[in-house]
């Protein structure tokens, strides 16, 4: 039987790449300059039956249309915003992704970003390394995290994991979700605006869809206010980044911990001089353990596909 031709869109992970190369026939899209990629896909369209995509580069309609023999898209991540799911459904292309294995790291990072932002961990590290502790004396007071109300946008696996951790700090939990989760005791708000008005730390943990694009707009940011903290471990486009920057520069928002941005890898430079933001380069699931778990899940799904066994984590 012909080996599964797998297109890897980006250089996501060396272990994943090596295994795909070993088990299947691997096509490395990133090796081509962007202008030559369409041609590359046409040339190999007969062979490519699977695409492994990442948050940077997924499987959009154009790519799917260029691959008539495409059978399955495997998304390295739980966010499916870079995969054209409608096109896949129409074409009968299966989609798998990596839920559950990413939950812990993402939730850990959300809490870590909240504490780092409120307690100014990054800025006081800088203060110490540039000699200011010796020269200027103690760093200023910073905001306590424990006991602050945490509002979670999206109470899925990641949102619930964030809630569980925050409860360990004595934080009251509230949330906004598409539907109320009656099995929890957390306070539900039907709109993100009400959520922002009633919490001090707002964590974005919902999927990116047309409805949630720029769901964190200026009105929501203002409701969170000068003592509020925004933590985004979702997707950059969840937040109106221009308004966020302007609110931070004006002191209208207290602090922010950001793992994602609208135009990665570009981060608004106006933020670089602020001490009340933490800016990390989409590291949400970037641990050795979780990357391997995600890669293994992708590989097992692909193996299941070629052996006609049930997929482990289908997206639909």
């Amino acid at each position: 039987m012909e080996s599964l031709g797998v297109l890897l869109t980006a250089r996501i992970d060396p272990y994943l790449e090596a295994e795909l190369d070993r088990r299947f026939k691997l096509f490395r899209l990133w090796e081509l300059p962007p202008a030559q990629r369409r041609e590359f896909l046409r040339e190999n369209a007969e062979a490519i039956r699977a695409v492994v995509g990442s948050p940077a580069l997924g499987a959009d309609a154009e790519m799917i249309d260029l691959l008539p023999r495409l059978e399955i898209v495997a998304n390295f991540g739980v966010g499916l915003d870079k995969v054209d799911l409608r096109r896949c459904r129409d074409r009968g292309v299966r989609v798998v992704y990596t839920p559950d294995v990413v939950t812990d790291d993402t939730a850990d990072l959300a809490i870590g970003l909240a504490i780092a932002a409120m307690r100014r961990i990054c800025d006081s590290d800088r203060y110490l390394r540039d000699g200011s502790w010796k020269g200027k004396g103690d760093y200023k007071l910073t905001s306590k995290f424990s006991g602050k109300t945490v509002g979670i946008l999206g109470l899925g696996r990641i949102g619930q994991a964030v809630a569980k951790r925050a409860e360990g700090f004595g934080c009251p939990i509230c949330y906004c979700s598409r539907s109320e989760k009656r099995h929890t005791n957390y306070k539900y708000y039907p709109s993100v605006l009400e959520l922002a008005a009633n919490c001090q730390v707002l964590v974005v943990a919902c999927p990116l869809t047309e409805e949630t694009h720029h769901i964190i707009n200026r009105e929501v940011i203002d409701a969170l206010g000068p003592n509020g903290v925004l933590v985004n471990v979702g997707r950059g486009p969840h937040v109106d980044e221009c308004e966020l920057v302007s609110a931070l520069l004006d002191g209208q928002l207290g602090a922010a911990g950001l793992d994602v941005f609208e135009h990665e890898p570009h981060v608004p430079e106006q933020l670089f001089g602020l001490d009340n933001v933490v800016l990390v380069p989409h590291i949400g699931t970037d641990t050795l353990e979780t990357s391997k778990a995600m890669a293994d899940l992708i590989l097992e799904n692909l193996e299941a596909h070629v052996s006609n066994r049930p997929l482990l984590t289908p997206a639909f």
Binding site: D108, A116, C122, H266
Partner: protein, 327 residues
């Protein structure tokens, strides 16, 4: 006191408290409403001379910051009955001498517990996920140039060994349990009410831990309790977090171990000779450095004010102290 005390007491009627060390202005102003501070720092006399001249009838000493309360100081305070410390750590107070002289000592109790525990967890997540290091990376404009930052390490499942399971250590344990970390500990005595695995010494604890968090008091016994043997035991992937006192760790040895890759990383809020920090650490991305600010929040200082105020008021009205240190 007169039976018809006016709402605002005459200055002479406020009880006298000797103040050693500077108080943060907010605390100074708030406490000065109720107590009359005797302030050696405002005199040109050397401290011990000042005490000999002016403090002979002082019954209470409020000790702010790490100002030492040693034998020389105590010898010049013949009427002293109570030392109120403004910190959780009391390594700067000669507790043995106080005990001999029948002087009670109170500390900050659990005023700082939450903030200290939050900070320890924050430092730990930072180290494992490279938060400060990758924040620097982003601000230097390196993300578009050099691509993604190297992988970090997952917190869940890592064995956390806590050195000192007092108020702060327990609060750290409770938080990290929610992240899926098995908790182990060493303390002066085993705590029957907790289910965490107990170790009678720190080296054994380190050998079974991926992460060591130091949250114990600094005493003669715990000086350099984190020594080379302990560091080698926690190992090349091991992480050490210190929110106790700098001298709990052999700092020279720590720097060597970090430079030689004998331990994986460290999150340090305290140092042996503050504000001096070994410069070798400034070049490392696997350490997070902090200027002794784990408890420096308005909330902790508010708690401290309430506690200091309560202890002083209790003393002057012959009530039991709120946060007496027990030996």
């Amino acid at each position: 006191m007169s039976d018809e005390s006016p709402p605002a007491e005459q200055p002479q009627q406020r009880p006298e408290v000797l103040l050693l060390g500077p108080l943060v202005p907010f605390l100074d102003a708030a406490l000065s409403n109720k107590f009359r501070f005797l302030k050696p720092c405002e005199s040109s006399l050397p401290l011990l001379d000042f005490l000999a001249a002016h403090a002979v009838s002082v019954r209470v000493l409020l000790c702010s910051g790490p100002s030492p309360v040693d034998g020389d100081v105590l010898a010049r305070l013949p009427a002293l009955e109570l030392v109120v410390a403004s910190s959780a750590g009391v390594d700067h107070i000669d507790l043995a001498a106080c005990r001999r002289l029948g002087i009670s000592v109170t500390n900050a109790g659990s005023a700082f517990t939450d903030d200290a525990a939050d900070y320890a967890v924050g430092l730990l997540i930072d180290i494992l996920h490279h938060i400060s290091a990758s924040d620097r990376y982003v601000r230097r404009g390196l993300w578009p140039l050099k691509g993604d930052y190297p992988l970090g390490s997952k917190l869940g499942g890592k064995r956390v060994g806590i050195v000192g399971l007092g108020s702060i250590g327990s609060a750290i344990a409770k938080r990290l349990e929610a992240f899926g970390c098995p908790i182990l500990y060493h303390s002066r005595t085993r705590k029957p009410s907790v289910s965490y695995k107990y170790f009678g010494n720190v080296r054994d604890l380190a050998a079974e831990s991926d992460i060591l968090i130091i949250s114990c008091a600094l005493t003669a016994e715990t000086f350099h309790i984190i020594d080379k043997q302990v560091m080698l035991a926690v190992g090349k992937r091991g992480i050490i977090i210190n929110v106790g006192r700098g001298a709990l760790i052999d700092e020279k040895e720590l720097v060597k171990c970090l430079m030689q890759g004998e331990i994986g990383g460290a999150g340090l809020d305290v140092f042996e000779n503050e504000p001096v920090v070994p410069e070798e650490l400034f070049h490392m991305d696997n350490v997070v450095l902090s200027s002794h600010k784990a408890i420096a929040t308005p909330e902790s200082f508010r708690n401290l004010f309430d506690l200091v105020s309560a202890n002083l008021e209790a003393f002057f009205s012959n009530q039991p102290m709120v946060s007496l240190i027990s030996e």
